[in-house]
Amino acid sequence: MGKTVLIVDDSNTMRKIVSRALRQAGIDFSEILEAGDGQEALDVLANNQVDIVLSDINMPNMTGLEFLKAKAEDEAIKDIPVIMISTETGADIIDQAKALGAKGAVKKPFTPDLINEVLAPLL
């Protein structure tokens, strides 16, 4: 059965590109949901059964790190795996993200193969 993925990015363009990359990577997703920032992502997670989240870090309203922190404090959603997809992939930021529960990171720009490489072990 296909998985449900949530793509979190303030750029509509990047959400479309990530969505396309998932299809090109050949991963079987039954549904791809989208959110424009961390708060929208929390709202989506509260109302949907999501298997994995792909999130940007540098977003207005609620950043990816703030989203991870809020998610970690919510028993109902804290175990849903999150992969960061961002231009912000310096060691310090990724260490912060992993300390808050992120399972991995993909640097923008990326290829579908790279997305597949990071996601496959989590599905």
């Binding site: 750029s11 363009t13 590109i17 207005p60 231009t87 992939t89």
Partner: protein, 152 residues
């Protein structure tokens, strides 16, 4: 502080990985943005080891070609998708510069990108700013990566 090669390398990586348009990088030039014949500009702020505005300036046809290739569509005008795509390119470019400068011990922080378009606008930087302007060519025409910076 070296900028030109970092800008060229980061731009080439983005085009090779996510846009798939043949790209030719030029050498640094010295021109005012209002003299470049551009219709759309995407910009992002950087702060930290130095303060800067990084911009991508291009004519409408070039912006549509880049945005269309990135999204797999054929836009008829510089619409919101095109502007969002160009903003995301500056975001990735700034991320590439951040990563490159981090290896030299220079830490940078990125703002959120923004894009403007129109037939007549000027982009000003604080007086005393330094400037690096690098042209690139694709089949649809030229675009420019523009970095105005001042040392913190």
């Amino acid at each position: 502080m070296e900028f030109v090669h970092k800008i060229q390398a980061a731009t080439e990586e983005i085009f090779a990985t996510m846009i798939f348009l043949d790209l030719t990088a030029g050498e640094q030039i010295d021109q005012k943005v209002e003299e470049l014949g551009c219709y759309v500009s995407a910009m992002i702020g950087l702060s930290g080891g130095f303060n800067a505005i990084l911009g991508l300036h291009c004519p409408a046809a070039v912006g549509m070609a880049i945005g269309g290739a990135m999204l797999g569509i054929d836009p008829e005008e510089v619409d919101e998708d095109t502007k969002d795509a160009l903003g995301e390119i500056t975001n990735m470019l700034a991320g590439g510069l951040k990563e490159s400068f981090a290896t030299e011990g220079i830490d940078l922080f990125l703002a959120i990108p923004t894009t403007i378009s129109g037939n007549s606008y000027k982009i000003s930087a604080p007086s005393g700013s330094n400037r690096v302007l690098v042209p690139f060519a694709i089949e649809a025409g030229r675009f420019y990566i523009d970095l105005k910076y001042s040392l913190a």
